[in-house]
């Protein structure tokens, strides 16, 4: 591993050197001069960030690309060989075909993304429009809707685990009991578990996007509303023709961040149900393969596929929403 790291470092330094030499040549042509004392100072000051970014940001990215094509097993780190048959990928594809874990991971992640993205963004936009007015007490509402964002995913998961507790004293079961229902085990329910995770995640997250929408709303110029009102537009038309275009870039930002975040969902199923096929997600599968089972190669192959799919969809979203500027 040390060898490959040094090789990567060498390549990066080479690229840097080429660019630096190009800068120096250009300076010579233009007869400008670098202040050498300042140059040295800047190299020195940027060094800590460069070292940390190289080890903890760039290397993992490069390795996750590379590992996907090897048979890297974490307990035998000195014995990595290039995998000519791409067996990591064939195993994944076979797992999808034979309805193995990978199939469920893709299915559940898609269900989660399709469920949570519109729900969370819709709730956030609705709340933002609701609190975007100057009335007494609106500030208190804002704080209330934002409160769940503050607590961590761990706390949220355990809290909801208690609310959805299978015992008859759990919050939901004790209410159902009033209507004569028997206690249910919500998180063991085949279809229900994922729905509860979606609801919980949207409940927890939407306050954050509400605030971003709000700051986007304040950037929409007031005169536009007045002009629209003078033209006789009712409030729905105002929303459609003034608010929506004004929120375009905010919406794009929120769509991409919520989408990428939803694709990575992992902690909620991990803490609330454990590794079961009904709620298993892609990130969770990746973690299970790479950390619990120590098959880093296979895990990285999943990561690589995810990066490609997420990147492609993100680009598509950007294209579609940006065109009309």
């Amino acid at each position: 591993m040390l060898g490959s790291t040094l090789a990567i470092l060498g390549v990066l330094i080479l690229i840097f050197a080429v660019i630096a030499v190009k800068d120096l040549v250009l300076a010579k042509i233009k007869h400008t001069r670098y202040n050498w004392k300042n140059c040295l100072a800047s190299y020195g000051m940027i060094l800590p960030a460069v070292v940390l970014a190289f080890i903890f940001v760039l290397l993992p990215i490069i390795y996750s690309l590379g590992y996907a094509f090897t048979d890297f097993y974490l307990l035998k780190p000195d014995n990595i060989t290039f995998d000519e048959d791409f067996s990591n990928f064939t195993i994944i594809i076979r797992s999808i075909r034979e309805k193995g874990d990978m199939y469920y991971a893709i299915r559940n992640t898609s269900i989660f993304v399709v469920g949570v993205v519109p729900l969370q963004i819709g709730m956030a936009l609705g709340l933002a429009l609701f609190v975007n007015r100057t009335k007494k007490g609106v500030g208190i509402f804002k704080v209330c809707y934002f409160a769940p964002v503050v607590i961590s995913l761990t706390i949220t998961s355990y809290l909801w685990l208690q609310i959805l507790s299978p015992s008859e004293y759990g919050l939901l079961n004790s209410i159902l009991k009033l209507f004569g229902q028997k206690p249910r085990d919500f998180m063991r329910d085949k279809k229900g578990a994922m729905i509860w995770i979606i609801v919980m995640s949207a409940w927890q997250g939407c306050g954050y996007q509400m605030l971003i929408f709000l700051s986007g709303l304040t950037n929409v110029r007031k005169e536009l509303y007045e002009a629209a009102a003078l033209d006789g537009a009712n409030s729905w038309e105002q929303f459609l023709h003034v608010t929506c275009p004004g929120l375009r870039s905010t919406f794009l930002y929120i769509l991409i961040t919520v989408f990428v975040g939803a694709c990575r969902v992992m902690v909620q199923p991990m803490l609330m149900t454990g590794y079961v096929s009904d709620t298993l997600t892609l990130s969770y599968y990746m973690y299970q393969q790479g950390y619990t089972n120590r098959w880093v190669g296979r895990s990285s192959a999943v990561a690589l596929m995810m990066t490609i799919v997420i990147g492609a969809i993100t680009l598509l979203q950007r294209r579609l929403l940006r065109e009309k500027d």
């Binding site: 660019i19 630096a20 800068d23 000051m45 940001v57 996750s64």
Partner: protein, 308 residues
């Protein structure tokens, strides 16, 4: 009402006025009722958590299914003290909380210095090869790379060989670098006029001194924003510390509080009230930070929008 009637000469206008006023009050009422209902939806789990944390197992069972679920156990305040006392002493949550505070403090200091220096260099200096760094920064911000937590794990454990107490570094160092924060600092520093620096440079101050004595004090808002988000991120991080830290090392546990809550809530025979008390203890510091640093969090949102 009488006053208005006397002042307005036109009866018809008065009627219209009254109608719209009545309508306004009705609309207002509807608005507040909707707002309150929404607030209940968002708050009931938190209220439930707080109320249950004060209850013994028997009164938790007795209150189930009634509105008492959302009220603390006023009759038996002793059980509240018992729950919290047990969480603090028997389960020793204060140690994990202290760990989290220490990790967060170190991450904040390193994050501001490391990324601040890089942002300062990128904003104010020109040197051969600068284009390389700007390209890397922009690339890492724009490309959505699937968090490579497993390769990062292999780097920390195999390349750097961080084991035992040293694995604390694996929690602190990766959180101390943030390309996005470099970008934030860079943007902020670009808006600081050159005159401040030039004056200090004439007095013979070096670049490092200028950064710490002039640039950072001028950039309090951005430093506060970065520090706030660092604290929240470190305090709420669960998965990564649980992966890299050993559970107990030489008597003093290394786990941060989120990882500890996971093991606390699976202790045999723990009551619901105690679990809830542990959850409350874990959430309170972050609530305080949000209240105190509200302004800086809002600034963070403002800059988040700039990114796209």
């Amino acid at each position: 009402m009488e006053n208005v009637a006397m002042k307005s000469p036109n009866v018809g206008e008065k009627k219209l006025n009254r109608l719209t006023k009545g309508k306004k009050i009705a609309l207002s009422t509807v608005y507040y009722i909707c707002g309150t209902l929404l607030a209940i939806i968002f708050l009931f789990p938190l209220v439930y958590m707080l109320a249950t944390s004060t209850k013994s197992e028997s009164s938790y069972a007795a209150d189930a299914g009634s509105l008492m679920m959302f009220l603390p156990d006023f009759h038996n305040l002793k059980s509240a003290a018992e729950n919290y006392g047990k969480v603090f002493t028997d389960y020793g949550i204060w140690r994990y909380a202290l760990n989290s505070f220490v990790y967060a403090a170190i991450v904040i200091v390193l994050n501001v210095i490391v990324n601040g220096l890089a942002g300062y260099v990128m904003a104010k200096f020109d040197f051969p090869g600068k284009g390389f760094f700007s390209f890397v920064i922009m690339f890492l911000i724009i490309v959505p790379v699937e968090t490579s937590i497993i390769p990062l794990y292999s780097i920390v454990k195999i390349l750097l060989r961080l084991k035992g107490t040293m694995s604390v570094l694996a929690v602190i160092l990766p959180s101390s670098i943030s390309v996005f924060n470099i970008f934030l600092f860079m943007q902020f520093f670009e808006s600081i006029p050159k005159e401040y620096e030039e004056a200090a440079r004439i007095d013979g101050a070096g670049s490092l001194l200028i950064f710490f004595a002039i640039i950072l004090p001028l950039s309090k808002p951005i430093v506060a924003t970065v520090a706030t988000f660092c604290f929240i991120g470190t305090w709420n991080d669960y998965l990564w510390p649980t992966m890299v830290l050993p559970y107990v090392e030489e008597g003093w546990p290394l786990y941060p509080i989120q990882s500890a809550v996971t093991s606390i809530q699976s202790i045999q025979g723990i009551t619901t009230g105690e679990i809830m008390a542990a959850l409350i203890v874990t959430s309170v510091p972050i609530f305080i930070v949000y209240v105190v640093a509200q302004k800086y969090i809002m600034q963070g949102f403002g800059t988040a929008g700039l990114k796209m």
